[in-house]
C-alpha cells in the first residue's frame, strides 16, 4: 500500500478518473528491478530544502519543509494514494451515514506511538479538541469547524458528527493525529509551541525523530516497529540550504539525493551523461497555478471587455516557453487539469492582438492622440502597475513579458516587485493593487469557496480580487455542501465556465513539478500524486548503498 507523503495536509480529497485520464507523468521510468536488486533496508537518503524547518507539530505550521518532515513522523486517519484517492491509514475503514452528517472511523488496533504507548481513539478526540481550541495557533481550523461533535464510543472507534454536509469531511482527517499523553497539558494551556514535542516530536509514522540542528538539518530514523512494516531507507536527512544555486551545485557534487529542479536546470543543466548516470529526473503536473489577476474594484478592470482584451494580448504559450521552458500546462481555470472536477469545455482566448485592440476600443480605450498609448474619452492613458512578490524569479519574468505584450496594444504597465510580507499585508489585504502576478496552490478537492465567494472579501479573507458573481456564489455553496461527487461535478464544471467567461484573472499555467532523485534509489513509481507518495517503499539495493544508516 502506498502512502502519500509531502503536502498531505494541504491536500483535499479528490478522485482522478484513472491513470489514463490524468496528466502525462514523465519519469525516466527505471527498467524495473533487475533480479539482483532486491529490496534492502539501510542507507541514508539526503534531501535539500531551501526553507528552514520551523517546527515539528505540523498542525501548527504552514510551511512546506516542516510539513514534509512531519509527514514522515505522523500519520493521519486517512491518506491519499497514488491517484489522490483517500484510503485508510490509522483508520481501518470508515462509514458515512446516508445523510452525510455522521462519519464513523474504525481504528487500527496495532498502532503504537514512538514512545511505546498504544494509539487509541482518545488521541483522535484530543487532536480534534486541540484543533478547535482557540489558543492553538493553527491555520487549519476551518476544516474542523463544521463538526458538531467527535466522540469515542470505544478505544478503537471514532464518531464524527457534522452540522451540515461537508464535502471535505474525509480528506480533512488526513491531518496529523497528536499524542494525547504527551501534549494534553500544553494544548490546554495554549503552549503547544513551547512543548518539547515541537522540537523532539513523537508520532506514529514510519520514521522516528532523531536530531534537529536549527538551520542546518533534521535527521529521522526508520521506525522498526511501524505497523505497516518498517520502511526500507534507514535514515533520512533534510539539509537546509537557503540558496537555490547552492542546492544545485550540491546535487552535482552528489551531496544531495533529492531536490526539485527549476525548469532551466531540468532542460539545460542536467542533460549530460554523468548526470543521467547519477540521477533520475521526474516530471508531473503540480497543484500550483500561476495567474495574472485584476483588482475588480478598479473601474477599468471592472469592465470584462478590458480583461478579455488582455487575455487576447497575452500569449500563454510564450510565457510557458519563456519562463518554464515549456514545462507547464496551460491553465483554463482554477481547477487542476486531470482531476475529476476539471473541464476544458470553457471559453478560450487565443493570442490575437487585433481582437484585443478591438475589445479595448469597445470599452472606450483608443489611441486618441497618436502616441501609441490608448486613452479613454477624457484623454487619460491606460497605465497601471503590475505587482508581484519578490523572491520568485518566474513571476518577475512573467510580469516583464506581460508588460511588453501590453505595450503592443497601447497599455502602459509598470512593474513593482515587493517583499512578501509587505506585499500580503499592505497591498493584497488592503486591496491596494491594480494587478498582480501570483500563484495559488490548489488542493485535491475543487472546493474554492474562500477564494471566489462574494462573502469572503474582508481584509483577512482570501477573495482578494473582489470577485462577486451570484451564480458562482450559489455553485460554491452547493458544491461544498454535497458529499456526492456526481452532483458536485456539475457545479464545478459550470463554475469553471463562468470564470472563463468573466476572466477575473488570466489563468496562466500549472507548472510541472520537476523532482530529481539519486539513481541508486529503487521503487519509485511516478503517479498523479507525484513521486513521494510511496516513499516508504523506496529502497537502495545493498551493493549500491552509500552511507551507514545508524
Amino acid at each position: 500500500m502506498g502512502r502519500l507523503r509531502g503536502l498531505r495536509w494541504l491536500a483535499l480529497g479528490v478522485l482522478c478518473l484513472g491513470l489514463g485520464a490524468c496528466n502525462v507523468i514523465e519519469g525516466e521510468e527505471q527498467a524495473e528491478l533487475a533480479s539482483d536488486e532486491l529490496p534492502a533496508h539501510g542507507d541514508t537518503f539526503i534531501l535539500a530544502t531551501i526553507g528552514d524547518i520551523t517546527a515539528l507539530i505540523p498542525n501548527i505550521t504552514s510551511d512546506a519543509p516542516s510539513h514534509e518532515v512531519g509527514a514522515l513522523i505522523y500519520d493521519g486517519l486517512v491518506q491519499a494514494d497514488r491517484n489522490l484517492n483517500y484510503v485508510p491509514q490509522l483508520a481501518e475503514s470508515w462509514t458515512f451515514s446516508p445523510d452525510c452528517l455522521s462519519l464513523t472511523f474504525a481504528l487500527r488496533r496495532d498502532v503504537v506511538w514512538h514512545d511505546g504507548r498504544p494509539f487509541t481513539a482518545d488521541d483522535v478526540v484530543f487532536t480534534y479538541q486541540t484543533m478547535m481550541n482557540p489558543k492553538t495557533p493553527t491555520a487549519y481550523r476551518d476544516s474542523f469547524s463544521m463538526i458538531s461533535s467527535v466522540e469515542a464510543p470505544d478505544p478503537h472507534t471514532v464518531r464524527v458528527t457534522y452540522g451540515k454536509p461537508f464535502a471535505r469531511a474525509v480528506s480533512s482527517w488526513a491531518m496529523a493525529i497528536l499524542p494525547k499523553h504527551l501534549l494534553e497539558t500544553y494544548a490546554a494551556s495554549g503552549t503547544l509551541r513551547e512543548s518539547p514535542q515541537n522540537r523532539r516530536p513523537v508520532g506514529t509514522g514510519p520514521y522516528r525523530f532523531h536530531e534537529w540542528r536549527s538551520g542546518e538539518k533534521v535527521v529521522l530514523l526508520a521506525n522498526r516497529d511501524y505497523y505497516d512494516g518498517p520502511p526500507y531507507i534507514g535514515r533520512v536527512v533534510y539539509r537546509v540550504i537557503p540558496s537555490q544555486a547552492t542546492i544545485f551545485l550540491e546535487l552535482k557534487a552528489k551531496g544531495v539525493d533529492q531536490t526539485a529542479l527549476t525548469a532551466l536546470q531540468y532542460t539545460r543543466q542536467t542533460a549530460y551523461p554523468a548526470f543521467h548516470k547519477a540521477y533520475r529526473k521526474y516530471r508531473y503536473p503540480s497543484s500550483t497555478y500561476t495567474f495574472f489577476g485584476f483588482n475588480l474594484q478598479d473601474p477599468r478592470f471592472a469592465d470584462a471587455r478590458v480583461r478579455r482584451a488582455f487575455a487576447h494580448a497575452i500569449n500563454k504559450q510564450e510565457i510557458i516557453d519563456g519562463v518554464r521552458q515549456g514545462l507547464a500546462r496551460e491553465a483554463t481555470g482554477p481547477i487542476r487539469p486531470g482531476t475529476w472536477a476539471y473541464t476544458d469545455q470553457v471559453r478560450r482566448y487565443p493570442y490575437d492582438l487585433d481582437r484585443a485592440r478591438q475589445l479595448l476600443a469597445e470599452a472606450g480605450w483608443k489611441d486618441r492622440d497618436g502616441d501609441g498609448l490608448v486613452e479613454n474619452v477624457e484623454g487619460k492613458p491606460f497605465a497601471f502597475t503590475i505587482q508581484t512578490n519578490q523572491g520568485n524569479e518566474e513571476r518577475k519574468k512573467i510580469a516583464e513579458i506581460i508588460q511588453q505584450r501590453l505595450k503592443d496594444i497601447g497599455v502602459k504597465a509598470d512593474i513593482q516587485v515587493i517583499e512578501w510580507a509587505s506585499f500580503i499585508s499592505e497591498y493584497l489585504k488592503k486591496r491596494r493593487f491594480e494587478a498582480v502576478v501570483m500563484g495559488f496552490g490548489v488542493g485535491t478537492d475543487p472546493d474554492q469557496y474562500v477564494i471566489w465567494h462574494s462573502s469572503q472579501m474582508g481584509p483577512d479573507q482570501m477573495n482578494r480580487l473582489s470577485f462577486s458573481n451570484p451564480e458562482v456564489d450559489r455553485l460554491l455553496e452547493d458544491g461544498r455542501a454535497s458529499c456526492h461527487e456526481a452532483q458536485r461535478v456539475t457545479y464545478y464544471q459550470r463554475f469553471q465556465q463562468v470564470l472563463a467567461e468573466e476572466q477575473p484573472m488570466i489563468f496562466l499555467y500549472f507548472a510541472d513539478a520537476l523532482p530529481v532523485v539519486a539513481s541508486r534509489v529503487r521503487g519509485i513509481q511516478p503517479a498523479p500524486a507525484g513521486i513521494s507518495w510511496n516513499f516508504t517503499d523506496w529502497f537502495v539495493p545493498e551493493q549500491l548503498q552509500r552511507y551507514t544508516s545508524g
Binding site: 539545460r268 543543466q269 519578490q390 524569479e393 519574468k397 509598470d414 517583499e419 509587505s422
Partner: protein, 291 residues
C-alpha cells in the same frame, strides 16, 4: 585665498600624475561615466524586450554578450545597468555626504553640547550592523530605485561626519579662521567661506571611495532580492539573475561581474590616488620617491 589654492592644485596634479594606478583608475572612471551617459546610443537592443525564442543564447554577432533567461540582450542590459548602478553610487553617496557635511560641520564648529549629541548619534549608528538595518528598512519600504539609493545613503553618512568634524576641529583654530571671526564675519560665512572649502579634500576622497562601496552594497542586496527592482537593470540584479544559470550561461554572470570588478577597482585606485596626492605629508614622501 585664490593664489595658494591654485598652487596647491598644481602640486596636487604633479603628485597625482606620478601615480600611474590612480591615473588608470581615473581614465576608466571617465570612460564608464561616458558609457553610462551614452548607453541609449551604444546599446544595440532594447534592454527590456524579451525574446522567448532566443533564451540564453551564447555570445554571437547579433548579441555580443549573449542573452538572458527571457532572451534579453545582455550587452544592452549591462550598458543600461551601468547607468542605474552608477546612479545608485552617486546619489546614495551624495545623500550620505550632505548629511555628513552638515552634521560634521555643526559638531566641529559648535563643539560643546551640539558636538556631544551629534557624536553620540554617530556612535549609535555605528553600533548597528548596517547590513541588518538595510535589510530591515528595505523590507519595510516599497523597494524602488529611490528607496535603495536613499537607504544606502541614510545609513552611510557616519564616516563623513567624523571626517568633517575632525577637519573643523583643527581648522577652527587656524589663523585665517580666527582672523575672520575677529573682524566680525558671521558663523555661516566663516563655515561656508573659510572652513568648508579647506575641509573638502577628505570628503572628496571619502566620496570617491563610497561610490564603489554603494555599488557593491546594491549587488549584495540584489542577491538577497532586496536590491533595485525591475524593470531597471543594475549590474547587481543582472548578476543575481544569472547565478541560477551560472554553468550554462557564463556570459550572464561574467560580464556584469567584471563590470562591477573593474568599476570598483578603478574608483578605489582613483580615490586612493587623490588621497595620497592631497596629503601634504604623503606628498612629501611621494616627492622623495622612497623605496
Amino acid at each position: 585665498m585664490a593664489g595658494p589654492r591654485r598652487g596647491e592644485w598644481r602640486q596636487f596634479w604633479t603628485t597625482f600624475r606620478r601615480n600611474r594606478l590612480a591615473l588608470c583608475g581615473g581614465a576608466v572612471v571617465s570612460v564608464l561615466v561616458a558609457v553610462a551617459a551614452l548607453a541609449p546610443v551604444l546599446a544595440p537592443h532594447d534592454p527590456h524586450r524579451p525574446d522567448t525564442k532566443n533564451i540564453l543564447a551564447p555570445p554571437s554577432r547579433e548579441h555580443w554578450l549573449g542573452t538572458d533567461q527571457i532572451g534579453r540582450d545582455v550587452l544592452s542590459r549591462v550598458l543600461y545597468g551601468s547607468r542605474v548602478s552608477l546612479a545608485v553610487g552617486f546619489v546614495s553617496v551624495g545623500i550620505a555626504s550632505m548629511i555628513g557635511i552638515v552634521l560634521g560641520a555643526a559638531a566641529g564648529y559648535q563643539g560643546g553640547l551640539t558636538d556631544g549629541v551629534i557624536m553620540r548619534f554617530v556612535d549609535l549608528m555605528l553600533v548597528f550592523p548596517r547590513f541588518f538595518l538595510l535589510l530591515a528598512v528595505l523590507a519595510f519600504l516599497q523597494p524602488s530605485i529611490w528607496t535603495v539609493m536613499a537607504v544606502i545613503g541614510l545609513t552611510g553618512w557616519m564616516g563623513v561626519t567624523r571626517l568633517v568634524r575632525a577637519e573643523f576641529l583643527s581648522l577652527r583654530e587656524r589663523e585665517f579662521v580666527i582672523w575672520s571671526e575677529s573682524v566680525g564675519a558671521t558663523a555661516l560665512r566663516v563655515v561656508f567661506r573659510h572652513i568648508l572649502p579647506n575641509a573638502m579634500a577628505p570628503v572628496l576622497v571619502a566620496m570617491t571611495l563610497g561610490i564603489p562601496a554603494a555599488i557593491l552594497t546594491e549587488s549584495g542586496l540584489s542577491f538577497l532580492g532586496l536590491g533595485v527592482q525591475p524593470p531597471y537593470a543594475t549590474w547587481g540584479n543582472i548578476l543575481n539573475d544569472g547565478k541560477d544559470a551560472i554553468e550554462i550561461a557564463w556570459w550572464m554572470t561574467v560580464y556584469p561581474g567584471l563590470a562591477i570588478l573593474v568599476t570598483v577597482l578603478s574608483y578605489n585606485l582613483l580615490g586612493e590616488g587623490i588621497r595620497d596626492a592631497l596629503d601634504p605629508r604623503l606628498r612629501q614622501a611621494g616627492g622623495r620617491g622612497r623605496g
